[in-house]
């Protein structure tokens, strides 16, 4: 099982802060496809994915127990 986090505009657009999904074995790109399919109105173009609190690459593969966070463009400071 993978835990997914949604923040800021993505949290508001999905109505979800956190959910669990059977995504182990999939890549980060495939995770984004899954999210796109589930929330077709979301714009994910500039969204980065962090796996276990580190930015991940599109081909990185998810393992059971991982957390994956969708990181919309940041605006701290």
């Amino acid at each position: 099982m993978i835990t997914l986090y949604y923040f800021a505009g993505l949290r508001e657009a999905t109505g979800t802060a956190q959910e669990q999904a059977e995504l182990e074995g999939r890549t980060v790109d495939e995770l984004l496809d899954w999210v796109r399919h589930k929330y077709p109105h979301l714009s994910l173009d500039a969204v980065r994915v962090a796996v276990n609190e580190e930015y991940a690459l599109p081909d990185d593969r998810l393992r059971s127990g991982d957390t994956a966070a969708l990181i919309p463009p940041v605006s701290g400071g």
Partner: protein, 162 residues
């Protein structure tokens, strides 16, 4: 206090300046980012910041490690506040000490640039007639005071991936 932290209470910048001071430090730069009343001609009532807290603290520490490598002998502390912030309140504080002043200026400015690229924190502007999550400030020009900023690009990308 931790040297790299996300906080929910008002920030006392002096604590971070004190933290980085050592007998061999000749210079301390302290940057504070404040909630502005006017942005792009729109009056902000207040801001709401949200963070992915554990990752944000990890990324702040990573920026600190980058500074250690690029400006050896400096000491750095960074804090970012989340929650609702009123006009004038401090959203972010960066303190850097160094033997010689140039390092402290450069490292401090580097830190704020990296925060805006890297750290999972999001700002929502609350105006009288609406709200907006602000996104991707990396390519944002720094106009002279008085000039208008470009429109924010919520979830509209300029670049992909870190």
């Amino acid at each position: 206090m931790k040297p790299y932290e996300i906080v929910t209470e008002p920030i006392d910048p002096q604590r971070y300046a004190d933290y980085v001071l050592r007998p061999e430090a000749g210079a301390v730069t302290l940057f504070t980012g404040h909630v502005r009343e006017w942005t792009r001609g729109i009056r902000t009532l207040y801001l709401a910041y949200e963070a992915y807290v554990p990752m944000a603290e990890k990324m702040l520490a990573k920026i600190g490690a980058e500074i250690d490598r690029q400006w050896p002998g400096t000491r750095t502390a960074i804090a970012h506040r989340i929650g609702e912030l009123k006009i004038g309140e401090i959203a972010v504080v960066i303190a850097v000490s160094s033997a010689h002043r140039k390092d402290a200026y450069e490292a401090n400015e580097y830190a704020i640039e990296r925060i805006k690229e890297l750290v999972p924190i999001w700002k929502k502007e609350i105006w009288e007639n609406g709200t907006e999550w602000i996104g991707d400030q990396r390519g944002k020009p720094e106009p002279d005071s008085g000039q208008a900023d470009p429109a924010p690009t919520t979830l509209k990308p300029r670049r992909e991936l870190p």
